[in-house]
Symmetry: C2
Subunit: 333 residues, 2 copies
DNA sequence: AATGTTTATGTAATCGATTGCAAAAAAGGA
DNA sequence: TCCTTTTTTGCAATCGATTACATAAACATT
């Protein structure tokens, strides 16, 4: 493997000049630049990036911590991040926590070890003080998940509003017995969407039956399980707002397996607008989140931070949209 | 940010000793080790990994090139890789090519720049010579996709056999008009599965109508489009073997939209056994690939290669399985 | 006690690039 | 032509760890 000094020797210049050709070409006369470039080509020289990183203290690498790479939602966000990173010459280190908080910590270590210039967290379940500490030392952006009242740049939609919108959709259709299959309560998104659900119910004077609130774990299977419990209630709900599309799909499956028709017997609304929602039968009414855009925006912010800029605005709330399809049914009479 | 010399000073030893405490603790007496560890804790010292990488020429990082992170199939393989990598102290750089061959080359550059110790390619569409060149210089493992008769370690299933098995399943059920929606023909997997389909047809003396062979692009939408064309043929097929589950889902949707029943009017078999296949209606008959295991095995091999071992065996063919569900229907009379 | 062995520690070179500073060369001005 | 300014290049230090080699200390053996 060739090194810079080899090029320098062949081109009859110093390594300083070679370095300049590579990094600040206009500081070098056209002649020498040409000579050096030829030597580089001749020797098939590739700069040793680690050496450069070591010297410049820039790894040109960002860490992305994601709760689940196999999730149709998060993987789209990841794509947005990765695409944008690449465009700006950054690499992405993948930190799949598999919903395990210890993994989250392990990955964050990479920042301390200076293996990444910054991080985007799609999951932030660690305690606030730890995160604050990290975010004070390194460029960090939160996307999707976030931590309340923490002064760290954040990109997300307004989950409370969106959840309220989804629930109100049911209310407008004439439902009163509306249930909610939530995500794990230690995740803020779950609490937010539950809150939105509650706000909608309360502001329309509808009773919130504690039995109508179930907690899943994001997975299709758990959506199935929780829905089973709901339909077996003495007075089952006529509508269920589900934390995400994956669980919604599980929930609909459960209803069907129990011989119920969706949306006639029980209506369902999901969240995220993953691809499958428009193919599944019935098509699923859901909240569209701009997944790719969230990733892109988060990466853009991170790039700013890594450039040493200070952000005037820290909270970016992107637009969501209720997409009405079949699973929520039509107006009840 | 503290450095090793700070620790050395505080502990009253040389940096050599500090380094030894970190890397070969048994070469240091218990007393000094204790002293050093205390100093490390006291100063909150974290070793600068880039400096270490620079010195040792080991990045403890592997590159994973993947054609599509949002794919339910590949993301499971990726998880297998990532999980195994982490266990062995390796980081994963994500290289999502978005099915773009140029991206593939860009990412491969990282090896030449010594930013990764090795690579796993889940997509290998570049030309053989280039890949050969790379694989001769660096530890590289191919998974899923591969290149014919190339002496690079490979992990996959036997796609030809599996495709034949899927097609023969139709034949056993009494179908004769069997179509195939293939993947892009520049991808070896597509050619293999097509080959398996053809083998099955030929060995059962069934006619292969060129009109029955369609080419999609892996996406659900293309499955939809290709199926539309098939059902609109003058003599439409009664069964369709589809390259992957995603396209199969699209295909089934198309059939339904055209008022056809699946499997009664047209039977479908997919490939990959992604989660959705067991939830979709009808449940989809498919070939199960051990996705996580493929990733794990590939990473294990790569670890061996990076350790300088030479593999006696180079081609690892994992077990696939035909999973019979509803979409392929029952025996025709 | 003298010698050889083993263990523990330190010295200083090294990895391959970048960059501040100085020197040399070229260009411009009088 | 000589002096000043600007441009181009090189010298050598530097980043923070690791490690070959040397030395010192501890221990064992006769």
């Amino acid at each position: 493997m060739m090194k810079m000094s080899d090029v320098a020797k062949l081109a009859n210049v110093s390594t300083a000049t070679v370095s300049r050709v590579l990094r600040k070409p206009d500081k070098v006369s056209t002649d020498t630049r040409q000579k050096v470039l030829e030597a580089i080509k001749e020797l098939n020289y590739q700069p040793n990036m680690v050496a450069r990183q070591f010297r410049t203290k820039e790894t040109k690498t960002v860490l992305v911590v994601i709760p689940d790479v196999t999730s149709p939602f998060f993987s789209e966000v990841l794509r947005g991040i990765e695409h944008t990173a690449l465009e700006s010459g950054y690499r992405v280190i993948l930190g799949d926590t598999e919903n395990d908080i210890n993994r989250e910590h392990e990955y964050i270590e990479l920042l301390l070890q200076q293996q990444a210039d910054g991080a985007i967290l799609l999951t932030a379940r660690m305690d606030r003080t730890r995160l604050e500490e990290i975010a004070n030392q390194f460029p960090v952006v939160l996307a999707c998940e976030y931590i309340d009242e923490l002064d760290v740049p954040t990109v997300s939609i307004n989950n409370i509003n969106a959840a309220r919108k989804a629930t109100e959709h049911f209310i407008q259709l004439g439902h009163t017995r509306i249930a909610h299959i939530a995500g794990p309560m230690n995740v803020i998104l779950s609490r937010d969407r539950l809150k939105g659900y509650e706000q909608a119910m309360i502001s329309h004077q509808l009773h919130i039956d504690p039995l109508y609130i179930k907690e899943g774990d994001f997975s299709l299977e758990s959506g199935y399980d929780q829905m089973l419990q709901l339909v077996e209630l003495e007075v089952p709900p006529t509508a269920v707002f589900v934390f995400n599309d994956l669980m919604a799909i599980g929930a609909i499956k459960a209803a069907k397996d129990k011989g119920l028709r969706v949306p006639e017997d029980v209506a369902v609304v999901g969240f995220d607008n993953i691809k499958m929602t428009s193919v599944f039968e019935p098509n699923i009414t859901t909240i569209e989140q701009p997944k790719y855009e969230i990733g892109k925006k988060a990466m853009d912010l991170l790039l700013n931070l890594m450039n040493g800029e200070t952000l005037q605005k820290k909270k970016f709330v992107l637009k969501d949209e209720l997409i009405i399809r079949e699973s929520s049914g039509s107006k009840r009479i």
